[in-house]
Subunit: 419 residues, 2 copies
């Protein structure tokens, strides 16, 4: 690694730390003004952004169709980015929250108040719109951010970042509130994972499994990671048939590439030949490949045999693993063994079984009679999200602006000394 890169990155860390102090004391109006001005700048610079994006697309001709799809921008997607910044500006101020307040018998007045986390290191891959979304969520929540996008989208991200900087300047906030790592040198990621000399408070990786795994293995600072979504739908024997069919097809097929898409379907053995076969027929007709255990293959002969590995696989594709289970406890055991603590749904009309399922499972989101595809900050009414946390600490489920804050205790006294 060159000394130059290290010096540059450390300087970014110091600048971010200083900007975080300014953001911590900034008003919500000021932060919103920056986001609204950045939205205007995105619109005004649309031509430049599209030109930059064409460079990235031209260099990516060997990439998969899915990757090109993630990379490619259009006038419409730039307008969507601008609208998203305005929507984030419109959210309530996440820092104007008193989380608790009480008075001790000795007269000490104690409150727990929301505060920004500080400096967030955002490490992502080819989607250039993350540059705008992540910067906006961080600024709204009073955090400075250091953005490190994938080299595939570096021209697009640079052009989008220029618009964000224009927004910050228009609102009188320092450029360093949202810095973009200009080099494609991967050593920059390593330096961020070491924390830039204590400057970075939190790393958020957003991308594929290998990126998140590298971040979790190497980071010397806290990580808010979104790992795989191996989401389950369990159809209980007392499920309403129409509801089960509607939820199963939606959970799997609405969009197969999102983390809240169902990857495994668990069906009570008693209803496998009836409702189970109807559900599998729906999925097959919709183009989904069925991989089943012995009982499933016996009832639904066009299913392929499932392997042990399938239960641990996030397909992100039109494939589903299907298992016959003997009641809720068996379903819970399967999910606890193979799941990723993301999102699980039960379909049943039996309240006691549903409540047992909801209580027993240790996943970020558990649903009763609703599709796993609702696992999304927007659908939860949080506005935009920076990701979906699958860890247990700090934030689980959709991570929006409130989840990008922490808190401190403010104690007001009248001269109290501790006896």
């Amino acid at each position: 690694m060159s000394d130059g890169l290290k010096d540059d990155m450390m300087a970014m860390g110091r600048a971010a730390h200083a900007a975080a102090r300014v953001l911590r004391e900034s008003s919500n109006d000021m932060r919103n003004a920056a986001l609204r001005a950045a939205a205007s700048a995105l619109r005004a610079r649309a031509k430049d952004i599209l030109a930059a994006n064409r460079k990235d697309v031209a260099s990516a001709q060997n990439a998969s169709a899915a990757m090109l799809d993630r990379l490619k921008l259009s006038g419409q997607s730039i307008e969507a980015m601008a609208k998203s910044l305005e929507a984030i500006a419109h959210l309530p101020d996440p820092l104007a929250r008193q989380l608790a307040h009480w008075t001790q018998p000795n007269g000490l007045d104690i409150s727990r108040v929301a505060t920004p986390i500080g400096v967030i290191g955002m490490i992502y891959e080819s989607r250039p719109n993350v540059t705008a979304d992540a910067a906006a969520l961080c600024i709204k929540s009073g955090n400075a951010v250091i953005l490190r996008g994938g080299s595939d989208s570096i021209h697009s991200s640079r052009a989008i970042h220029a618009a964000m900087k224009e927004g910050l300047r228009a609102a009188g906030l320092p450029d360093a509130c949202a810095q973009f790592v200009q080099t494609a040198d991967r050593a920059a990621v390593g330096l961020m994972l070491e924390g830039l000399g204590g400057a970075i408070d939190l790393i958020i990786p957003r991308g594929g499994k290998s990126l998140v795994a590298r971040v979790q293995a190497e980071a010397r600072v806290p990580v808010l990671a979104h790992l795989e979504g191996i989401c389950h739908v369990y159809i209980h024997e007392k499920a309403d048939a129409g509801m089960a069919r509607g939820i199963a097809i939606n959970a799997k097929m609405r969009r197969t590439g999102v983390c809240g898409a169902a990857e495994t379907l668990l069906i009570d053995r008693s209803i496998l030949p009836t409702l189970g076969v109807a559900v599998l027929g729906d999925l097959k007709s919709a183009g989904c490949e069925i991989r089943g255990d012995g009982a499933v293959c016996a009832s639904f002969p066009s299913a392929r045999p499932v392997s042990e590995e399938d239960w641990r696989t996030e397909y992100l594709d039109a494939i589903i693993a299907v298992k016959a289970v003997d009641g809720a406890e068996d379903a819970i055991r399967h999910i606890e063994t193979y799941g990723s603590h993301h999102t699980e749904a039960i379909v049943t009309d039996d309240e006691a079984t549903a409540e047992h399922f909801l209580a027993a499972l240790d996943s970020a989101i558990v649903l009763w009679n609703a599709s796993t595809q609702f696992a999304d900050g927007g659908e939860f009414g949080m506005g935009a999200e920076i990701g979906i946390g699958t860890g247990k600490l700090h934030a689980r489920g959709p991570v929006g602006v409130e989840q990008l804050t922490t808190f401190k205790y403010v104690v007001r006294g009248t001269g109290q000394a501790r006896p």
Copy 2:
């Protein structure tokens, strides 16, 4: 490392994971019954515990007086441990909390409910009472715990752990809710820091700087660390003189060995020759060594010159570093540069200055006109604490039973599929 140790530790991890599932679904009454039965067992086994403690003390004859003081148990300290378990049992159920609840326009009923974290790895040093306190806080909050105490106190901790196990059995809870690592082999700590094959959700280190530093450097799972408390008291020029003198002496000298003890005193230059000298005189009379900057030494000739290193030092002793500052902003800058984000106090009668200090500083606890020694879960009304968090994520300040929980989203629907 022996294969035997690794196998044993992995088996502890699996047992803890299974016990965590039982605790997650246990009632508050059951968990409280375990704590109350453990308190009775501690009292009934006091003689055995004291005998075990004498073995530890006999092996520690070369230890410092401070360490012997931490290690040594008495009938009184065992009774205090038992009372602490009963007090923890008496706290409200931290799992019976609905943290948020709303209904989306599509009818989805969403609630955020408190849940246990899962399995906590507690790594501590010579204080044997941590064995009882930490186990009790974890059980109360529905977490299984793997306790790894210091080798200095291993006989005492084993004897205390036997009482905890008796309590769990009496309440019908698995032994593995609170396991104690029986070996003094330090490789056991390394295995815990790697997470025991995914079984450990959170590591809490409690001990000196080198222990916490090792844990933070090596842990592959999240850590809730309490680093140093380099706490500051800032006496503003508009401070009430009596209040300033009372708070300064209490913050430094009430107990010098606690993390909330003040280590640095900042005094406005304009009041240094008057109120400042009076405060320093109080401290000196109480046996405190004063290390001052040039202005302080000029006004208070018995002060020794302070070094740069002093500003970063947690003395945990009757020594204080003192600096003359030019107003609140100068004080804030010093604290941001040298502090550890633990606890800081301002003494002033000027509300605007106080509010600026409280808002600008990014420490877990900020106080106005009160002593830093209030940085304590008990003094905050939280009951017992497992430590004081100085990180920014999940929990800051005193970590009590509520802070040992996380949450999940429970979504109740009527068949909703996502459009």
